[in-house]
Amino acid sequence: MSAPRHHPEEALLAAHVAGALSAIAAVPLATHLAYCPDCRARAKALEAIGGEVLEAARPAALGADALERTLRAIDEAPAARPTPPRPAGDPRLPEPLRALVGRALDDVPWRAFGRNFALAEIAAEAGAELVLLKMAPGAAMPAHRHDGHELTLVLAGGYADAAGAYRPGDFACADAATEHAPIADADGECLCLVMIQDQPRFTGWFGRLLQPFLRI
């Protein structure tokens, strides 16, 4: 697989490296890093700055016995903190997405809408949802906008929109100013991870078709 060509912008990657994103927004970022050696290097550089920020932080008060308790924890369970058993999951999905989905892609509760699309909600938090989206080969999604941000990571196949061609590992961020109309590549099904913030504003038949499935 070739390296991804579409990457998160610096501010978004920095926010992820800083641990400043919500749990759901962090998933497409972390999964993109699994695909992208370039962004792993960028993240490492940002971590170096994180180290400086840590040095400059005003120290918070610890309990008087904090060191003692930490040493006790080190003594008590030297081997009792094994890495948790690798959760079941689809080997086609990279971590941390694999663990979060926790099952084979075929066993995910897909909800079809129309003949060309299927969607599975895998996690939710206030104001945002994380979904897997399947598009049939050549399927065209009607133009839509969003009230909030939409983070997309291609997992299999590909699609194209006005911003270019997206292949596995490619990352896209759309905001309220973006209207886009992705078309799945003709040579296979396209699978994407999408963080939807608030609601995409679809209109017409497509919106009516989609809304019950998003349960909005």
Partner: protein, 214 residues
């Protein structure tokens, strides 16, 4: 510094809210600073010989800063436990530290950040049951009515997520699992009066969420 600017400029909508900044300019470093070379030497002693005095010096310097970072991220009461876990990991992974790759501070920052992201992810609520009948319209509606219903369902869903756990649990049992209130009391092992009280509180709160836009 540029880093903080980059984070703050990212739309609040995607970033989690942060507590009041607790940073001071790098130029005003506290006098208790350990210089990076000393930090690396201390960590090497931990890795080589399990040197507790060396670890103690690193702990004294870094643990309060790790806690400050976690508090700023919003860890609240979990900050002490997460700080301890970060320092335990620093000890355990000391042998893998490579000074050519990163400063001790950057390395520990990444450890603490990963712990924080893991903690956030553990708290993720799984998506509501997609077959939940109360949230799916019964029949096709006129476009206006559909939009209204959609908005209302969306707000209800958000309001449900915002309920305290014990209220949400009750609403799910009584309204979604279609248990009677006494069945729910049995299922949870709490008195019927407590169930009724929690249902009342939860519904008052959901109504309050939905009221303003009726």
């Amino acid at each position: 510094m540029g880093y903080a600017l980059a984070i703050e400029s990212w739309p609040r909508a995607v970033a989690r809210p942060v507590a009041r900044p607790q940073h001071r300019p790098v130029s005003e470093r506290p006098t208790d600073s350990l210089d990076p070379a000393t930090q690396a030497a201390l960590l090497a002693r931990v890795a080589r010989a399990g040197d507790r005095a060396a670890f103690g010096a690193l702990h004294g310097h870094f643990a309060p800063r790790v806690k400050a970072y976690l508090l700023r991220r919003g860890a609240g009461a979990a900050a002490d436990d997460l700080t301890q876990e970060a320092m335990v990991r620093l000890w355990r992974a000391a042998g893998r530290y490579d000074p050519a790759q990163a400063s001790v501070a950057a390395w520990l920052f990444a450890i603490a950040r990963n712990l924080w992201i893991d903690a956030l992810r553990r708290d993720l609520r799984p998506a509501l049951d997609p077959d939940e009948p109360g949230l799916v319209p019964e029949a096709p509606l006129a476009p206006d009515a559909a939009a209204f219903q959609a908005d209302r369902a969306k707000r209800l869903k958000a309001a449900l997520r915002g309920l305290p756990t014990e209220q949400r649990e009750i609403v799910e049992l009584c309204y979604f699992a279609e248990l009677s209130q006494s069945q729910a009391a049995d299922a949870l092992g709490i008195p019927l009066g407590t169930v009724k009280g929690r249902v009342r509180l939860a519904l008052a709160r959901l109504r309050a969420e939905l009221e303003p836009v009726r």
